[in-house]
Symmetry: C2
Subunit: 235 residues, 2 copies
DNA sequence: CGAAGGATTGATTAGTCTCAACGCAAGTGG
DNA sequence: CCACTTGCGTTGAGACTAATCAATCCTTCG
């Protein structure tokens, strides 16, 4: 999901990006809000290190996690167009992020049509992921849902070179997995135990080990097409 | 959702749009695919009349409806950037739509920055709706989910002037409502009966009557902020 | 050592699904 | 114009997934 992986960018374009990502950098502690529903968006956030998430809360407190961001992910291109946030962003782990102001952002889009194109690509993939999450919660069983989340995060981390053979970081608590999949924490616990018994995965100390990715993808009915990894930026 | 409602457009911009929407117009019968998952996108589709939908199918046939389109809705700006569709589009009712080719589309975006901006706005609202659907299925009960769908469609139809006092068209079958909310058709049937008993709504002959929208919004925990109706195109 | 956050376990219940049948209205063909 | 089909909505009985409530157990860490 690295911006520079969207499309092939000329070195001038890369330079523009590098500049923009250095101007305003912040470090946030784990489980801290970045921006809340109702607030006016002032920056486009780019995650440089760590995991972050989107979530939405109903009037009575029920909470749905809507997506996760990992290093390289851009939160909301052009978010300034909206008067207020309809959801919140928060950190999962300690996070390093870059803030890009509206004027900086617009200048970048104008100076490089390639980057503007890359931003559209990024946005289209973001919606596609959200659609897959809707499908995940609407149609899959608890077991399949959690397996699907594991697949998605593993594949995304692998694409950005953040896996170590069959392992990757996985800093979510079982409660967070529950909020992301529309289940309860207790049921997530039991389901993960079942997956362990089935020799599908190992999950402890914030690390996920996938014994057989093909089998995991198969039980999850995981089809990576929605990540659109076959774009021109790749060989 | 009418393109011309996104932002205030100059009459020259309106002219550009009007032109583009007249070039290639098709009429499709009800329950007919417009484009299928896996195919290469060739056009941006704009719904001129009727209802359409996005859906996604798992390998074993389970189907999730992901969103509905009504007159004025633009299906996927810049969809050409993606090599293949990760979901399908189909009609619900008989539909009249306009197809815009890649070159036409790019020309429009270049000729009018205001329209380009409007397209970004449209895309941001589309993701916001998708997030709300994820939340709907993940957190709300069956009763709340269906009420929420009723609210969303009623408000969107009203915004585009397609309601008649407390009534609107509602051409979905109970099976389709089920596929959109992640429930079974049987349970949707029972839940709607309950809503009728509660004097919340009336639904027959493809028409929905909302007795008290405030009460419906309240039981659905419906917050219209995600539709971002407070944009500059409106007073 | 005590506190706190997270994971695990057990018992019970609720919400939703499954399967199967039936009803009704509209359309179709002989 | 009647018999048949088809699509959609309704009803019933029973099964099962996942939720709820409530403890208990770990680990980590100050």
């Amino acid at each position: 999901m690295h911006l520079s992986a969207f499309v092939r960018l000329a070195s001038a374009d890369r330079e523009i990006l590098t500049q923009a990502l250095q101007r305003r950098v912040r470090i946030l502690e784990p489980r801290q809000d970045i921006i809340r529903e109702g607030e006016r968006p002032r920056f486009v956030n780019v995650i440089l290190e760590g995991w972050a998430q989107r979530y939405k809360q109903l009037a009575d407190g029920r909470r749905q996690i809507l997506s996760f961001f990992i290093a390289g992910d851009l939160c909301d291109a052009n978010i300034f167009i909206l008067k207020q946030m309809d959801h919140s962003l928060s950190t999962v782990t300690r996070v390093k992020l870059a803030e890009i102001s509206q004027s900086e952002f617009q200048e970048i889009m104008e100076r490089s049509p390639r980057i503007a194109q890359a931003l559209w690509w990024n946005e289209l993939v973001t919606v596609a992921i959200q659609r897959e999450w809707t499908t995940n919660i609407g149609q899959r069983t608890a077991y399949e849902r959690i397996a699907h989340l594991f697949c998605e995060m593993f594949v995304r981390l692998r694409t950005t070179g953040r896996t170590d053979d069959d392992e990757c970081e996985f800093p979510l608590t079982q409660s967070e997995i529950a909020e992301a999949t529309g289940l309860t924490q207790v049921h997530v616990n039991r389901t993960i135990q079942e997956m362990r018994r089935d020799q599908l995965i190992e999950l402890r100390n914030k690390r996920l080990k996938v014994f057989d990715l093909d089998r995991l993808m198969s039980v999850a009915l995981f089809n990576p097409n929605y990540l659109h990894l076959d774009h021109e930026g790749l060989a």
